[in-house]
Amino acid sequence: MKNKSLLRIRDIILPLVFLLLLISGCASSTQVVLLPDPDGKVGTLEVSNVKGTQTLNQAWQATVSASMDRIPSEPKLLEEEKVRQVFREALEAEPIPPVSFIIYFRTDRSVLSTESLTLLTKVMDAILSRKSTDIIISGHTDAVGAIDYNHRLSLRRAKAVADILISKGIDRQNIQVTYHGKGNPLVPTPDGRPEPRNRRVEITVR
């Protein structure tokens, strides 16, 4: 009696487990496609599972990882049009990547040069093309001068940039102003050394 019932359970469970494995193995395969970078360059793409790694190095190449017991498939070149069709919705929803700008200042000054004002038109283009509601402006100084003074100077620099953007019609609420004094330098220097590359305002448009 005991043996018989055990057999019966095994008869049911084994095919069931097999069936489940079959379903999970086949149903949710993963396809990965290498896309060119926004600047047109093509990087490499490594796709690995427990069984091994596949390396892709051409745009529109794809590999499929179908289950745990096989390494991802040999890279296969797909037609660009087909990839764009399969991923159309996601590609259309892809945000333009954030971009950063740097504006430099003369010693102890918070007034923008003519060149900097030209750069601000590019900043404006970046804001408008992204419909950006997230603009981060951070002011910095070099390591010459007192800490308190440099904090105020870096804030004046950041505000000078923010004010120009606001005067060009950007909503104040979309701008975050931060100031660092001599903190977070682009080029670390000992105290007291003038460094033009650190006298700057960084603008990130997201």
Binding site: T30, V32, P38, S48, E89, L91, P98
Partner: protein, 167 residues
């Protein structure tokens, strides 16, 4: 009540007691850290939305809106007609097509503390990802996991499609 006990022991000058009190103190610390993590930092924000697009947080589903903040453990969900684009704190950019379910299972971007990682689980659907600073600063910092095979994916710009296991 437990916290009261441990704080009492903290002021107990006897060394033997200090030894025993270490465990409850550690527990309190873990609790405090746990609470801090419940108030998780921003992982990113929603940049654009179309059609049926939702954010699921602690099992509560809300319609996604532009500028919505994203946190670790949030799930991005789209229906038959939805899509969504998001920007993450490290300036990486991600978008999903319709019928997609993606879990932001880990997001840490603290370069000063060398905490740099982003792990996403794609349950189904289509995803496009362009890497940002996490991948740049930590070569193995970004990972996408999918149901059939845990795929480690390393690259700068790529598209992933996961067949719906339910179909």
């Amino acid at each position: 009540m437990e916290t009261e006990n441990t704080s009492l022991i903290l002021f107990e000058p006897k060394l033997e007691f200090m030894k025993f009190s270490l465990i409850p103190i550690c527990l309190v610390f873990i609790l405090v850290i746990g609470m801090a993590e419940a108030n998780e930092p921003r992982a990113g924000f929603v940049k654009n939305v179309s059609g049926q697009a939702f954010i699921e947080r602690n099992k509560v589903v809300t319609a996604a809106k532009v500028k919505d903040m994203l946190r670790e453990n949030d799930i991005l969900v789209t229906g038959n007609t939805g899509s969504m684009g998001v920007i993450l704190q490290d300036n990486s950019v991600m978008s999903i097509g319709s019928n997609t379910r993606l879990v932001i299972s880990k997001f840490a971007f603290e370069p000063a503390n060398e905490k740099l990682s982003f792990i996403a689980q794609i349950k189904k659907g289509t995803v496009v990802y362009l890497t940002g600073l996490i991948a740049k600063l930590n070569h193995s910092g970004v990972r996408f996991e999918t149901p059939a095979a845990t795929c480690g994916i390393r690259g700068t710009h790529f598209a992933i499609k996961v067949e719906d296991p339910g179909n």
